[in-house]
C-alpha cells in the first residue's frame, strides 16, 4: 500500500488525494453537506453560482462548505460561451476562487452539454487564469481541443445528469482516458458506487457524484459508500488487473513447442 499513499492527482497547482468530487445540489437540507463531505472525504465540491446569494437573509450556501474543501463553482444556467464566461467572472469576484466547472447546456430535456460553446468558454477562461474543468460530451477530438485550449482536466459525462444510468458512454470514455494527457473526471450519470468503481477501474482520474448522494435517503452513508468504491476502483486500476475476457484462455501456450 506504500504506493497508494502518494497517489494524488493535480488540477492547476492543487494536489488532491481524494478522487471523489461531490456537489451541493438537490440536498433535502444544506446542513447535510458538511457531514457528507466528512464521510466521503471529498476535497472538492461543485456549487452552481446561480444558487449563491451573498445577500441571503439566512445562511449563504457557501457557509455550509468547510474552508478545507476546494470550491468548484459551476456555470449552470449558461446557454452560450459568453454567459459561461460572465458567470465565471462573477464567481471569482464573489470569492469562489479560480476553479471553474464550465457547464453550457442548451438541451433542458436531457441536460446535455454543448461542446462547441464549452470549448470557446474554455479558451477565454484559461487565458484569464482560471483552472478550467469543462463538462463535455465524450468526444475524443474535443477532448484534445480542450487540452490545447488550456483546460486543467476534462469532465466527460457517463450518461445524462441525474439519470443514474452509469457509464452509457463507456467505449468513448475509454478512448478519452487512453489519449488524454490531462486528468479525466467522469461526471454525471453515476448512480451507484459500482459504477463509480467501474470508471476508476477504467483509469479515470476521478469521478464527480452529486444526484446519487444528494437524493439518497442517507447522503452521509451514501457519500461514504462512494468514497470506498472510488478507492477500490483506483486500487484495482493501479494493480493492473487482467482484463475480462470473453473466451477461455488456454493455460499452456499454443506456440510453446516452437522453442527459441
Amino acid at each position: 500500500m506504500g504506493s497508494m499513499q502518494k497517489d494524488t492527482f493535480r488540477l492547476g497547482d492543487v494536489e488532491f488525494t481524494s478522487r471523489l468530487l461531490t456537489g451541493t445540489g438537490k440536498f433535502a437540507s444544506r446542513a447535510l453537506i458538511q457531514p457528507m463531505l466528512a464521510a466521503s472525504e471529498s476535497e472538492m465540491i461543485t456549487v452552481a453560482l446561480r444558487r449563491v446569494d451573498p445577500e441571503a437573509t439566512s445562511k449563504n450556501i457557501l457557509d455550509y462548505i468547510p474552508d478545507s474543501v476546494r470550491l468548484l463553482p459551476n456555470t449552470s444556467g449558461a446557454r452560450t460561451a459568453q454567459e459561461a464566461v460572465r458567470i465565471a467572472r462573477i464567481a471569482r469576484e464573489a470569492g469562489c476562487g479560480d476553479f471553474i466547472k464550465i457547464e453550457v447546456i442548451t438541451d433542458m430535456k436531457y441536460l446535455l452539454p454543448d461542446n462547441h460553446e464549452t470549448l470557446l468558454a474554455t479558451e477565454t477562461l484559461a487565458k484569464e487564469g482560471f483552472v478550467v474543468l469543462p463538462y463535455m460530451m465524450p468526444d475524443i477530438t474535443v477532448s484534445r481541443q480542450l487540452h490545447d485550449a488550456g483546460a486543467a482536466a476534462v469532465m466527460p459525462l457517463g450518461s445524462p445528469i441525474g439519470t443514474n444510468r452509469g457509464l452509457e458512454m463507456k467505449p468513448m470514455l475509454k478512448r478519452i482516458i487512453e489519449g488524454s494527457t490531462i486528468p479525466v473526471v467522469v461526471d454525471a450519470g453515476i448512480g451507484r458506487p459500482s459504477q463509480a468503481a467501474e470508471a476508476m477501474e477504467m483509469g479515470a482520474d476521478a469521478v464527480l457524484v452529486n444526484t446519487a448522494i444528494a437524493t439518497s435517503l442517507d447522503p452521509v452513508t451514501a457519500g461514504k459508500s462512494f468514497a470506498l468504491a472510488v478507492k477500490a476502483g483506483r486500487m484495482a486500476y493501479l494493480s493492473e488487473m487482467a482484463e475480462q475476457k470473453e473466451y477461455a484462455d488456454p493455460s499452456s501456450p499454443l506456440t510453446g513447442f516452437l522453442g527459441e
Partner: protein, 368 residues
C-alpha cells in the same frame, strides 16, 4: 408549424369516448413505460387512472427527486397595475368590474421590491392587467430595471406581446415568461373572452412560442381550471408543454394549475377541479414530462400545498399579495385579483418545506 396545428388535430377528438374506453390494463401499460406519449397522458388523465394514483404518486415523487432533488424553488408575485381592457368573465380585474384602478409608480415598485427582498425572496413575478396604454413598454422596462437591483430572476406575467417587444424586455433583464391560455377549448374561450384584445385565441396560444424565440430562458404555461372540461384541458396543457420542450430545447418549461377561486364580479366555476383531480393532473404531467417544472401558487390552501411537496411540485409562491402595492406601497382601496388561501409568510412556508424534508431554494438564477 406552430402549436395550432398540433391542437387542431384534436378538433373532433371524442375525449369523453376515449376516457371511457381506457381499461386498467391500459393504465398498467402506461405506468410500465419509460417514455410516455400523448396517448399515455390521456390514459393517466382518465377516471380509470384513479385507483392507480398511489402508484403514480410514488413514481412521480421518485422522478422529481431524481431531476430536481429534494428542493422547492420559491418566488413571489408583484402586481404593479390592475388596469385592464379585457372582459374575462371569471376575473376580478375585468374591465366590466367597477373598482378604482391603480398603477404603481417606479418609486412605489422599488418600495415593494425592498419589502419582498427583505423576506429573502430572489425570484419575482411581475404582473399587470392588459392595458398597454396604461402600462406601456417604457414603464415595463423601467420596472424591470429597478427589479434587477433586488432580484436574481424576473418573470413577467403581463399582456401578450409580439416577439420584438418581448426581446426588448428580455434584454432589459426579464428572463422568464408566464402566460396562461386560460382555456384551450375554443368555444368556451370565445364565451368567456367576449371582447377586447384577449378575444384573439390564436394570438394568445402562440404567445409562449413568441416568448421562447425572444430569448426567455423559462416559460410557464397553464390552463385555468374551472372553465373547460378538466380532462381535456389538462391534456392540452400537457401537449402544449411537450410541444414547447421539443421545439425549444434550451428553454425550461413549467406548468401551473390555477383553479378558479372567488373573485369580485367573477362567475362561479362550472367545472370544479377537485383536490383528487388536481393531484391526478400533476402526477400525469410529471410522468409525461420528467423535467417539467410544476408551479403551485397561494391560491391553494396551506394544508393542501404541504402535501403537494411530495407529489412532484417544484416551485411555490410564498407570502403572496395579489393586490397592487400589497407589500409596502399600500393603496388602501386596491382590489386583489384572486383570494389567497395560503396566507403564511415566506419564513413560515420555508420552514414548512424544511419540516417536510425538502430544501427551500430562494435563489436559482443569476442575471448575466
Amino acid at each position: 408549424m406552430s402549436f395550432i396545428e398540433h391542437l387542431d388535430r384534436y378538433a373532433s377528438f371524442d375525449f369523453e369516448g376515449y376516457f371511457q374506453s381506457v381499461t386498467p390494463a391500459d393504465i398498467k401499460k402506461t405506468l410500465s413505460r419509460d417514455h410516455l406519449d400523448s396517448r399515455d397522458l390521456l390514459n393517466l388523465l382518465s377516471d380509470q387512472a384513479r385507483p392507480f394514483l398511489e402508484e403514480m404518486a410514488r413514481k412521480a415523487s421518485r422522478m422529481t427527486h431524481q431531476y430536481f432533488g429534494r428542493t422547492i424553488g420559491l418566488y413571489a408575485p408583484m402586481y404593479i397595475a390592475d388596469y385592464c381592457t379585457n372582459y374575462c368573465t371569471y376575473c376580478g380585474f375585468s374591465a366590466a368590474v367597477d373598482f378604482k384602478r391603480t398603477k404603481l409608480s417606479l418609486a412605489e415598485i422599488e418600495r415593494e421590491a425592498l419589502a419582498i427582498a427583505a423576506t429573502g425572496i430572489r425570484h419575482i413575478l411581475v404582473l399587470t392587467g392588459e392595458a398597454p396604454a396604461r402600462t406601456p413598454m417604457s414603464y415595463l422596462v423601467g420596472a424591470v430595471e429597478i427589479l434587477k437591483k433586488y432580484f436574481s430572476s424576473i418573470a413577467l406575467e403581463i399582456y401578450p406581446m409580439d416577439e420584438a417587444e418581448y426581446r426588448t424586455l428580455n434584454r432589459a433583464g426579464a428572463d422568464s415568461l408566464t402566460v396562461y391560455q386560460e382555456v384551450y377549448d375554443r368555444e368556451v374561450y370565445r364565451e368567456v373572452h367576449p371582447k377586447g384584445r384577449k378575444a384573439d385565441y390564436n394570438y394568445r396560444l402562440l404567445t409562449p412560442e413568441r416568448g421562447a424565440r425572444a430569448g426567455f430562458r423559462a416559460i410557464n404555461i397553464g390552463t385555468l381550471f374551472g372553465l373547460g372540461n378538466p380532462g381535456s384541458e389538462a391534456f392540452f396543457a400537457g401537449l402544449h408543454a411537450g410541444y414547447l420542450e421539443r421545439q425549444f430545447p434550451d428553454v425550461e418549461i413549467s406548468l401551473s394549475l390555477p383553479r378558479m377561486t372567488k373573485a369580485r364580479g367573477g362567475i362561479e366555476p362550472r367545472n370544479i377541479l377537485t383536490d383528487t383531480g388536481f393531484v391526478q393532473c400533476m402526477l400525469a404531467w410529471r410522468l409525461f414530462m420528467p423535467r417539467l417544472g410544476l408551479t403551485v401558487s397561494t391560491r391553494e390552501s396551506a394544508a393542501f400545498r404541504d402535501r403537494l411537496i411530495h407529489l412532484g411540485a417544484t416551485r411555490f409562491s410564498a407570502g403572496s399579495k395579489t393586490d397592487v402595492g400589497g407589500y409596502a406601497a399600500k393603496h388602501s382601496d386596491a382590489t386583489p385579483q384572486f383570494e389567497i388561501t395560503d396566507e403564511r409568510s415566506v419564513d413560515e412556508v420555508a420552514e414548512m418545506i424544511r419540516q417536510s424534508g425538502y430544501q427551500p431554494v430562494f435563489k436559482d438564477w443569476e442575471l448575466v
